[in-house]
């Protein structure tokens, strides 16, 4: 990946740091398109008695069409889940397992060590960052946490759908194929599927539309919208603010050690 993309590009005197490949960005677009579609066709049904439900549902196609759209979007999301799982597994194999084997170091222990050192896997550093963040928020220090390539919040954002889809998807599928599935499991499973589907969906939507959107839309330095999901590159200012450790590391690797800027302290990072 890093071969295809330059780690740092400079445009109009601003440095941009590579974050996401186009492959990943496309996956994100598919993800949010299907999730928003699912929410728009699912929530009017979940809250059918609210005044907004009927107009919205009618807009989404009404009781005949909206369920079809919902199921189609659900199928896309489940397919994306499978695809993404295959995607990281293949990359893990190519970029880690193969290399381990080449070096003759492939053991069960080293396999899992490599697996758990993937950038998305939560680790001890995240705990340190969380503690540092709360210290910072309660004014006990003037130094914000220094995140690695993936901050704990990004990891949470990543694992939220990764936990959510396996709950929502099969439950949704069971409710969709309710007649067929009744030949395999008793009807009460559908009761369970119903709760799983509706409540997990509520959690996902409440989380996405506030917490995630805060991170990328509402937050003062992002407002009205972050661009990294489109360009794949993050500017130096935000990089220092959000991923200082990663920033320093990339700068050193690219021979720019002398130009590393100090971490922003005490509010400078929030200047517009």
């Amino acid at each position: 990946m890093s071969k295809k993309y330059q780690a740092i590009v400079e445009k109009d005197g601003v440095r941009y740091f590579h974050r996401f490949s186009s492959h990943q960005r496309v996956q994100h677009v598919v993800l949010f398109t299907s999730v928003i579609t699912l929410a728009l066709t699912g929530f009017p049904l979940r809250h059918a008695e609210e005044a907004w439900a009927r107009p919205l549902y009618d807009f989404m196609g009404g009781t005949e069409i909206a369920p079809l759209i919902h199921r189609a979007a659900g199928t896309v999301l489940l397919a994306l889940f499978v695809y993404h799982t295959a995607y990281w597994m293949i990359r893990f194999y190519r970029e880690h397992v193969v290399k381990l084997r080449e070096r003759g170091e492939l053991t069960v222990g080293s396999f899992f060590r490599e697996l758990f050192s993937l950038e998305m896997v939560p680790n001890k550093k995240d705990l340190v960052d969380i503690i540092q963040l709360w210290k910072y928020l309660f004014y006990f220090t003037n130094r914000p946490p220094r995140h690695d390539r993936m901050s704990w919040r990004e990891k949470f954002d990543y694992f939220a759908p990764y936990w959510g889809i396996p709950i929502l998807g099969p439950a949704g599928a069971a409710l969709w194929w309710r007649d067929e599935i009744s030949h395999v499991v008793p009807g009460i499973v559908l009761n369970a599927a119903y709760i799983m589907h509706t409540d997990e969906a509520l959690l996902a939507v409440l989380f996405l539309f506030f917490v995630h959107w805060y991170n990328v839309h509402y937050a003062p330095e992002k407002f009205p919208a972050a661009t990294v999901w489109l360009t794949g590159y993050l500017n130096e200012h935000d990089m220092i603010h959000e991923h200082y450790n990663e920033y320093v590391r990339v700068m050193i690797e690219n021979g720019l050690e002398d130009e590393i800027k100090p971490q922003n302290f005490g509010g400078e990072e929030y200047e517009w």
């Binding site: 008695e49 509520l202 409440l206 506030f210 509402y218 003062p220 407002f223 517009w272």
Partner: protein, 300 residues
């Protein structure tokens, strides 16, 4: 300067976001915790109806009932109407309120109850006739009484109601005219006097303000004051109201129907044929003095 301006916008935005965050937490609360919330809200109103006695329960139900609506969707039309317990026939319209009258503030819009046999008729008249039309007698004041329509909603004087004039269309079976509807004019006939070349209703905003003030302060008034004020408020009201056949008669009806926009055929019904015949039947059917409600023994 620009920096300060930016800083102010920044802080303002942050504060707005904080408010939004708190609101979101509040908004989320019933979604996260309250699957019973909705049911409880619906029930808590009902619980009022669980008083000890039947009377208490009915009282609570009456308070609740105002909000009850019935909606029937026939695909090609939707019927919205108030829900009246135990009613079989459809109403097909929303009952309008009289915002101008000061009497209804206490007496309501179904005020007649004394004369059992004709009370429904009297209430029927109250739908399109102001109380003072019958309950103030002109001979006491020696004034020339004139009649005009006022808008039930705004209380302002209006022209003769279109719905009334159009009854004629229904008679003449003109295409597009609906079933003739009676009394549904959105207006009431009320008496007044000509004063300085202009027309003035007998009821006034001043009177209404007076009644409203009384109702607002009723709790703190002494019992003596209440009696005094009631006397004052009801001054000018005649114990013996205008009787049925003072209007429903051919020669000199008390209310000049034609001037008020009643179409000729309707006027004829009112003063000549069907309505008068009805009153005669009533006289046979019930004891005659039911038609002179004022002759009832006084309530107090």
């Amino acid at each position: 300067m620009v920096k300060l301006f930016k800083a102010v916008i920044f802080k303002g935005y942050v504060v707005l976001l904080m408010i939004f965050t708190v609101w979101y937490g509040y908004f989320m609360y019933p979604l996260v915790f309250g699957f019973e919330g909705k049911e409880q809200a619906a029930v808590s109103l009902k619980e009022m109806g669980e008083g000890v006695s039947d009377k208490e329960r009915m009282f609570a139900n009456m308070i609740l009932e105002t909000s009850k609506k019935s909606r029937i969707d026939l695909d090609y039309r939707v019927i919205d109407q108030p829900y009246i317990e135990g009613r079989f026939h459809h109403i097909g319209f929303e009952m309008e309120q009289d915002n101008a009258s000061n009497c209804v503030l206490c007496h309501g819009n179904v005020p007649h109850d004394k004369s059992k046999e004709v009370r429904s008729f009297l209430n029927m008249h109250a739908f399109y006739t102001a109380c003072e039309t019958c309950h103030i007698r002109p001979e006491d004041k020696n004034e020339k009484i004139e009649f005009r329509w006022y808008d039930k909603d705004t209380g302002e004087r209006t022209e003769n109601p279109v719905a009334l004039v159009e009854i004629e269309k229904a008679y003449a079976h003109i295409e597009g005219a609906s079933y003739p509807t009676y009394g549904n004019y959105g207006a009431k006939i009320a008496p007044g006097v000509i004063e300085g070349g202009g027309f003035r209703f007998l009821h006034s905003n001043e009177d209404k303000a007076f009644v409203e003030r009384y109702l607002a302060e009723e709790k703190v008034l002494s019992q003596k004051q209440k009696s005094q004020m009631k006397k004052l408020m009801h001054s000018g009201i005649n114990k013996k109201p205008i009787e049925c056949d003072q209007c429903h008669q051919e020669k000199n009806p008390y209310i000049p129907f034609a001037e008020l926009g009643y179409p000729p055929r309707r006027v004829d019904e009112l003063i000549n044929t069907s309505v008068v015949g009805m009153i005669d039947k009533y006289k046979e059917f019930y004891i005659p003095n039911f038609l002179t409600p004022g002759d009832q023994p006084p309530e107090d």
